[in-house]
């Protein structure tokens, strides 16, 4: 249980390729500021000069995604200016580049839940011990990770106060006050906030951090049917965040008893997959809490027959982890690769200076193109920096993942066209400046679509169907997700965990029982226990 302290410093990465947190050098006392960027070669250059520039400026990604995934990831999120390390372990700074992505995800999801009648509110960061421990299973699930405030200034508080790890116990005492009659139902609230879980597993930017941002929806209904229906409606919104915005394919399913939300009735999930590490990752979860919390927090209502009934509750959450999954799935050895819908900048326009043309004329042409693209509703950046070569700029924007680069040179102006270069596949083309807004919008749509397709193919290639333990282990060691017939018993899942844990790898566990089930042949038995199989379960190592 070692805590790695990330100093505010230049980050250097572990070279061993393990899943270690980055090792950091302490910053040297600053004598004179090093102006790294300005050491870059000046004047016009060609894309061919890229490598040299990269080397000299140390801006490029040196680790390979296939060889050393963990270093690669750290480099991509830091050099891509998404994350800055921080001197409180497990906490990270979300820089404008990644925060803008969170704003895009937020806008989409917020608009959609408002259509479902959900309203936003804000509940306190702090929760009293009394409220926190009320639901036994729930508190057991969270207690080891709770951060406690015990002091203000120099005085001890009378009672320690917990920092919310999630807000069921913050909200539900009040729900019991607000809900009296069937007319007060459904109650549908959501909040966008920070939560804290003081985990001791290795932290990873976006994927696992001690503080993270999320939305948490908390709803109450008169009937289980309504609750069930909402669980799936929200889950489908989560799928849309991943597939439609982040171009990351996910598998919808239900969690096993071992893996479900502590204190809830059942948990549904969208599961993503990182082919390079062979690990599944829980994308977002939508829980039906049943009546457990209602009972503990006394949330009753009077139905239209004047009978006293307990409400049915759901809670559901989506976090900044979304961004990390997207980076892991799409990034390449040049850096980030952003799907257009989540890219803070969708198109970067770069002029290619030449002795054949006045740079002012070139920039004017760029500005005209930028205007047309903005008028088409696209997010555009113009890079007229004169202290970097075009080649340096190409690398810079590639590292930041901008989906499309537009280059404007003297020949392009003459032939009323621009050169476009796709970030996702490197494809180059020339397109007419006439009606360029629509042409570029089409290309972006195509990028979005083909990124999802490519990711889906890669993911599908990593799902293996097995029926025996030997096949299971072989597939697992081959970095696959494994679909296997299962008896759906808690003890069997625990035993699989026990048997798959190694020194190098964490245990395999159920990721979910997919909603989309292959046919289960009559007489199928569990791959692990040999008992009659109830369904296909998806297993894997995971984040």
């Amino acid at each position: 249980m070692e805590e790695v302290e990330a100093k505010v410093a230049e980050v250097e990465l572990a070279a061993d390729g393990g899943e270690k947190a980055p090792v950091v050098k302490k910053e040297k006392p600053k004598k004179a500021p090093k102006e790294k960027k300005e050491k870059a070669p000046q004047g016009p250059g060609k894309a061919g000069g890229k490598k040299e520039v990269k080397k000299e400026t140390q801006l490029g990604i040196s680790a390979k995604k296939d060889e050393n995934f963990s270093s690669w990831y750290s480099q991509v999120v830091t050099h891509g200016e998404m994350i800055e390390y921080y001197d409180v372990s497990g906490c990270y700074i979300l820089r404008p580049w990644s925060y803008a992505m969170w704003e895009i995800i937020k806008d989409f999801f917020d608009t959609e839940i408002k259509k479902l009648g959900v309203k936003n509110a804000y509940f306190p960061l702090f929760v009293s011990e009394k409220a926190l421990i009320k639901e036994k299973d729930h508190v057991e699930g969270f207690a080891p990770e709770v951060a406690w405030v015990t002091r203000s200034g120099n005085s001890d508080l009378e009672e320690p106060i917990a920092v919310r790890p999630t807000s069921e116990t913050v909200m539900y005492p009040i729900y019991s006050k607000w809900i009296r009659s069937h007319r007060d139902l459904p109650l549908k609230l959501n909040q966008w906030c920070n939560v804290v879980r003081w985990e001791f597993k290795d932290p990873t930017p976006f994927i696992r951090s001690r503080e993270f941002l999320w939305q948490e929806g908390h709803t109450a209904f008169a009937t289980k049917e309504e609750a069930d229906e909402e669980v799936l409606a929200i889950l489908d919104l989560y799928r849309r965040v991943y597939e439609d915005i982040l171009a990351v394919p996910v598998i919808k399913g239900i969690k096993s008893e071992v893996e479900k939300f502590a204190g809830g009735l059942y948990t549904t999930t969208v599961e993503a997959y990182i082919p390079n590490t062979g690990r599944g990752i829980q994308g977002a979860t939508s829980h039906c809490l049943g009546q457990n919390f209602a009972k503990m927090f006394e949330i009753y209502f009077e139905n239209d027959n004047r009978e006293r009934k307990m409400v049915w509750q759901n809670s559901w959450g989506l976090t900044t982890r979304t961004i990390g999954v997207m980076v892991m799935v799409h990034g390449d050895d040049k850096g980030l690769v952003l799907p257009p819908r989540v890219a803070p900048v969708q198109v970067v326009i770069i002029h290619i200076p030449s002795k054949d043309i006045d740079t002012k004329v070139l920039i004017e042409a760029c500005k005209e193109t930028a205007k047309q693209l903005r008028d088409a509703g696209l997010r555009i950046e113009e890079d007229y920096r004169d202290n970097y070569s075009p080649g340096w700029k190409f690398s810079d924007w590639e590292m930041k993942g901008v989906p499309l680069r537009v280059e404007v040179g003297p020949k392009d102006i003459a032939s009323k066209q621009v050169k476009v270069v796709r970030r996702d596949n490197g494809g180059k083309d020339f397109i007419a400046t006439d009606n360029i807004g629509a042409s570029v919008a089409n290309i972006l749509e195509d990028i979005q679509k083909s990124m999802l397709e490519k990711a889906r193919e890669a993911r599908d290639a990593c799902i293996v169907k097995v029926t025996s333990w030997d096949e299971f282990i072989a597939a697992l060691n081959n970095k696959k997700m494994v679909l296997a017939p299962w008896c759906d018993e808690k003890e069997v899942e625990e035993s699989v965990k026990e048997r798959t844990k190694t020194d190098q790898h964490g245990a395999a566990k159920t990721l979910c029982m997919p909603f989309d089930q292959p046919e289960l042949p009559q007489g199928s038995v569990c791959f692990s226990s040999g008992k009659p199989a109830k369904k296909w379960a998806l297993w894997g190592r995971s984040y």
Copy 2:
């Protein structure tokens, strides 16, 4: 230093009219749910029946704004469904009705700062002790109010970690890394987040709470001129939030040395005023930090002559306090009075059932009106609840402050009109359903304008210009803000504080030195010290 514990319970208010936090009754064990709302008289009613309904449902505001301001305020924010009390002292729940107002304020301000080139980011909630104590004056200003996390689960942390009271010390260590060259400047970041200040003064919803929501902007410039300019640009946005959105007049000015931001160079402020309590209230502040933090956190850049220079910094913040000020200024004995631009619902449509008409026909007419108003871009609520009388609904929406009520009865349909009732002045009128979108939009604009005018008149009537101590004390005791010639010396402000503090009232202090200064006659002397006066200062008791 007594901590008032607000139980999750029915709130009952202190009867003495003092500035006490609400006293609460512990909730009785729930045997059977009380369905308060359903006890309201059924069937059609008239506005005349309002009082009875209110009494019976206990929904109305029983305290008078003029007589017992503190109870009145608590009732307005709780019965108006803005706030729910919470079992951690000094923390409040922002219900959807008030959170929607915060979203409106946020949208406006966020759009405006993005136009200024500010980008949003997110920095951690936690700050290490080492960073927190780096700037001496700053930490002295905040240390007594800092909440410390010392434990996770059952283990003590190696070092206690502070919960951010503001983020200068969180951000600036990193600014020192990000800023190297003049090309990295200006750096303009903002975050929307929660902060914690564990104050021991009586908490008041929105106005003073231990956790609150805000935005904090943190910018760095190459020159003082740029920093100065931004300080004022942001201050004017704060003025616009108050005056243009919340219809609350504010006075712009600069804070005294005693009152400025701890560790900063100078602080500018927009100051509002609550006539009923005779107290000023700091609306929002925009600070020039000078180079203090730059020095402590080593934030240097290389200018274009390759010289090493320190940056100039600003920070600026606007909090959910805005909402409380708006409530205090505009509310009346019926409840909230919302300016249309910040009202989550601008118009409520209520049908007046009658034996002369089929209710379905009535509701159809309402829906048609609602559609037209929505098409005009207005925020509309339709209240077709059949278990409340129209009179009960009138009171309910008045308490929630909705700016305009549209009533539709049988006669209105016949004469192709609707009745409209203004919340701000009770004015009633009939308007044609033809082109109703434009008519209602005009009325709302008029409400917005006249609410600001009315508030400005009330505020202006409370500013007294004095030149002597006796006049000063007389005006102060008469609940006025006092404009007085001042020598601008720290010791004199401290002495005024000392001399004005009474058992019942806090000390008077400078609210600001208004930018808009009356002429200072030659030879003017300080009202308190008799030394030569340097400027007019605005003094008052304050929140």
